[in-house]
Amino acid sequence: MERTTVFRTEGITRVYGSGPAAVQALRGVDMALHAGEMVVLLGASGSGKSTLLNILGALDSPTEGRVFFHDRDLTRASEAELTAFRRDHIGFIFQFYNLVPSLTARENVALVTEIAKRPMRPEEALERVGLGRRMDHFPAELSGGEQQRVAIARAIAKRPEVLLCDEPTGALDSRTGVTVLEALDEVNRELGTATVIITHNADIQRIAHRVIVLADGRIAETHVNATRLHPSEVSW
């Protein structure tokens, strides 16, 4: 059966700055992301991973090339349409969590459920990531792993089609990182959310369906994992 393509890019490039100071972050990337798929984006610092992720998430736009979400050309969308697109379809997870410090875990999730179309209850999202008992704590009262799991709960609570994760375990130790990956894996399996994870940690790639390696702004290599490891089997 042909799988639905969620994202498709056609020859996207991204240049920052101009003239002699111009930096070419992406040099023509063609890729696709399918429904229910978990993809790991691997590459050294400056390889263009974050730029690609930001463009997929409509936080940035390509200098050239086109990005399709299903059949919709995001490069032609207005500012307001992109905002609505992020609101309705994309869940973000960042290395440094980006929780609102003045809101409790539950409220951070509610922040998103209040504006989403068919969200789950904040409590349900938090229970999914194992934080049912820490819901009324402020971010400063939670550990790094717990904060990242709140971020995951916040990202999945709106039932997005895609989760975009930029170094989600980058600020965590190995053991805590695994619990975060487990949460992501569970969401991917149970809700079928297409997930893109950026990492420069090569060990994490083995939990993905597919691995895309970026180098110098281009796709250097793509391979499919014949067997996926469970996050608990990974360590670094």
Binding site: N54, G57, L59, D60, E79, A80, T83, A84, F85, R86, R87, D88, I90, F92, F94, F96, N98, L99, V100, P101, S102, L103, T104, E107, N108, A110, L111, V112, E114, I115, D136, F138, P139, A140, R154
Partner: protein
């Protein structure tokens, strides 16, 4: 060679220029008000003194009914008298071309030698009248201008019952009539009242005053004791109907001018502290944030060997930079406005010239205060950072800790959205900062309320004077006391609907060491046109016995009902009585004593008389009435109250508007300084968090709500506090603006609250929107890359 640290200082200042400017503007306002107030005052005092000196303004003034010129050598011999000049002065009716009702004039005799020795008029155009011509006069320039008259033009006057054609030879100004008011009114009206100078021989002939005088001017030697001269003069003039000599302080024009100058001084004291306080808080807030952002740099500076003192000095210099900017702006604006306002006053008072005198002390004081304000504001912020050890300073500060509290209960109760919860938690987490914003907004509102309220006070005053106390449409001042039959005569005049007689006499009031010359007004039983207003408001009948005293005087002298005062009659039989105070009265303009008509005439030991008639009239018959009045020799003057009110309130409104515009700008500047800085600080602290919201799919407007909503909430909290504080300021302003002649009531209308609120709200919204533009341009990607 600029040191590296100073280079950083300059760049920092350039980077935060908008915020620095916003603070400097608030600080500048305080400095400006100080410089402006004292500069205007100094210039006006200097101008007045120069005018007085050049035109030989007298030191002592006295009136009598008719004193022989033979008394003059004795007066000149008095100890302390430098020069003495006798003259004749009379109120006359004028029949001005193009004016239906009669105007009033004060006719003053010019000595046979030509120029007076004292109170020398300043010739603006033409010449003084020829001493030998009987029909020539010089008139005050404002009066001539109000009637479009020039030297060579003529008009008619009724001198002692005789109609005379007078030709104008010159237009004059005089130091003695800077503030010109007709009899029986506290209101200047250049169209209805003018001063006329006429050769002595002509005046004496018209009023049967040959060999006599009724006004006396004295200049004193530098070592003279004015009270002693006044006392000696009173003894000499007493047999000739002297009504009590007095110094410049009781000369009506001088006293009014002094009142205005005191008002300027009062304003210069009330407002600057507000601006200075707000700017101190702002410096503290902005520098606090700047230092928080530079915490790691501070650690680094200390780590590489800069001493704590050097680092502290660096940041203090930054605040001094803001201070220099603010003080400089304030000085410049203050000098500019002081000149502008002095010119306005000069025009209002008809000063012939202005002697600019910037007050050096005000520059020093305002400069020192301005700099002290910013340093004080900076100290706390600087101290908190420089005392950290380098290692701690260089590490990332702990994230802010939030806790559950009031906001949660409110959030649950009102089912608030999370973005609104963010606002509430931010306020409860940094109550000090929220308080600065609320305080600043309140201060701006209060400044506005306390300036706009002067319109309310003026309205209330005019209502009190024209509608509550004085309900007559017309008043006729009589040349002399007349029997009650004159009331019946007046009733026969065309168009007269109602007539009430009124009489008043000059008296000297004494209590303990205090003494004041005043008018004692008689209240006829059942009088409805001129009413006495009780201290608590509402018309009252004066008690049949005893004296009713104005509340202002009672408070000043510490007397009240039950106290006994001494009342010296300055008219025959010229006796002194001990009278109990039996009531207090409220008077917005003037300070008069009241007594029942029966009690006054018992004291005077004479049958009731009147010297003023108050009328209700049919305006349709006004032309005939005016014509009849002009032809009546017994009439000294006429007031048409509606016209007077209109002219007076127009004049006042014009002057008030200038001041209100200035204060609206000041109010707006405080608001902008406070709200703009608060918004910039919020934006700098929360850029990361707000960018996260954008990433999560919140629209620009929704994200702006978190920032703008908080500021608007604080603004809305600050405004009612500002109303309250404004009431307090208004009370101070009312007290500062009240003079011996005018007591400014403390009334603040909803219109005032609305105007203040509008100015503050618009400024706040504009400041917040300026910052919103920055927020809209936030780059989500780079904001997220930075670690909190």
């Amino acid at each position: 060679m600029i040191r590296a640290l100073d280079r950083k200082l300059l760049r920092d200042l350039r980077r935060i220029w908008a915020q620095a400017l916003a603070i400097a503007l608030v600080l500048g306002c305080g400095v400006m008000v100080l410089v402006m107030g004292s500069g205007t005052q100094a210039t006006l005092i200097e101008t007045r003194d120069a005018y007085y000196e050049r035109n030989r303004f007298a030191d002592v003034f006295a009136q009598a009914t008719r004193a022989p010129l033979g008394l003059m050598p004795a007066i000149a011999e008095l100890d302390g008298v430098a020069q003495a000049e006798a003259r004749i002065a009379e109120y006359i009716l004028l029949d001005m071309p193009g004016m239906e009702e009669p105007a009033m004039g004060r006719l003053i005799s010019l000595p046979a030698t030509g120029e007076p020795v004292l109170n020398l008029p300043l010739i603006r155009r033409g010449t003084l009248p020829d001493p030998l011509r009987e029909s020539e006069v010089a008139v005050t320039e404002p009066f001539a201008e109000a009637h479009g008259l020039m030297p060579g033009d003529s008009f008619s006057a009724i001198l002692n019952g005789q109609k005379r054609e007078l030709t104008i030879t010159g237009l004059l100004l005089s130091p003695e009539f800077i503030y010109t008011m007709g009899p029986g009114t506290m209101i200047p009206d250049d169209r209805r009242f003018g001063i006329l100078w006429m050769p002595e021989a002509a005046v004496a002939a018209a009023f049967d005053m040959e060999g006599a005088f009724n006004e006396l001017l004295l200049s004193l030697t530098p070592d003279a004791r004015p009270e002693a001269v006044v006392a000696a003069l009173d003894v000499l003039l007493d047999p000739y109907g002297g009504t009590g000599a007095h110094g410049r302080d009781k000369q009506i024009s001088h006293a009014f001018l002094q009142g205005e100058l005191d008002q300027l001084a009062a304003i210069g004291v009330i407002l600057p502290p507000v601006f200075l306080l707000v700017s101190a808080f702002l410096v503290n807030m902005v520098l606090g944030r700047l230092i928080a952002l530079e915490r790691q740099q501070i650690g680094l500076l200390k780590a590489v060997g800069y001493s704590t003192a050097q680092v502290a000095a660096h940041y203090l210099k930054l605040s001094l930079g803001i201070g220099v900017l603010g003080v400089g702006l304030g000085w410049a604006a203050g000098v500019w406005l002081a000149q502008g306002i002095a010119e306005l006053y000069a025009e209002y008072f008809r000063f012939p010239y202005l002697v600019y005198r910037p007050e050096p002390v005000s520059f020093v004081v305002s400069g020192a205060l301005g700099m002290a304000t910013v340093v004080l504001g900076a100290l706390r912020a600087v101290w908190s950072s420089v005392r950290l050890s380098p290692a701690i300073a260089m590490s990332t500060p702990a994230p802010p800790k939030y806790s559950r509290g009031v906001a949660d209960a409110l959030g649950r109760l009102l089912r608030l959205r999370q973005t609104t919860m963010m606002i509430l938690r931010s306020i409860t987490r940094w109550p000090g900062r929220a308080a600065v914003t609320v305080f600043g907004v309140a201060a701006a509102t209060a400044v506005m309320v306390s300036s706009v309220f002067t319109f309310d006070a003026m309205d209330a005053m005019l209502d009190d004077f024209f509608y509550n106390a004085n309900r007559a449409q017309m008043s006729i001042m009589l040349r002399a006391d007349r029997g009650l039959g004159v009331i019946e005569d007046a009733r026969q005049l065309p168009g007269v609907l109602q007539v009430e007689g009124h009489s008043s006499v000059p008296v000297r009031l004494r209590h303990g060491l205090r003494e004041q010359t005043m008018r004692l007004e008689a209240q006829a039983e059942g009088a409805t046109l001129i009413r006495v207003i009780a201290a608590g408001g509402g018309a009252v009948q004066v008690p049949p016995e005893g004296l009713a005293v104005p509340t202002t005087l009672a408070a000043d002298w510490g007397i009240g009902p039950g106290d006994v005062v001494e009342l010296e009659l300055l008219v025959p039989p010229r006796e002194t009585h001990r009278v109990p105070v039996t009531a207090l009265t409220r008077q917005s303009m003037g300070q008069d004593l009241h007594m029942s008509e029966a009690a006054l005439h018992a004291m005077l030991r004479q049958a009731p008389t009147v010297n003023r008639l108050n009328l209700m009239i049919d305006r349709a018959a006004l032309a005939e009435l005016n014509a009849a009045v002009k032809a009546t020799p017994a009439v000294a003057g006429v007031m048409l109250w509606d016209e007077t009110r209109t002219r007076f309130s127009d004049e006042i409104q014009r002057n008030l508007w200038t001041m209100v515009v200035i204060y609206a700008v000041l109010g707006a500047l405080i608001t902008i300084g406070v709200v703009y800085n608060a918004a910039r600080i919020q934006l700098s602290e929360r850029a990361h968090e707000l960018a996260s919201l954008r990433v999560l799919g919140f629209g620009r407007g929704e994200v702006a709500w978190v920032l703008v909503g908080e500021l608007m909430l604080l603004t809305l909290l600050g405004i009612p506090l500002g109303w309250l504080a404004g009431y307090g300021f208004a009370a101070a302003v009312a007290a500062g603006l009240s003079t011996e002649f005018v007591s400014i009531p403390l009334v603040v209308s909803n219109r005032t609250h609305a105007v203040a609120t509008l100015v503050v709200l618009v400024s706040a919204v504009a400041s917040a929107l300026l910052v919103r533009r920055r927020l809209d341009r936030i780059d989500m990607v780079s904001a997220l890359k930075a670690k909190e």
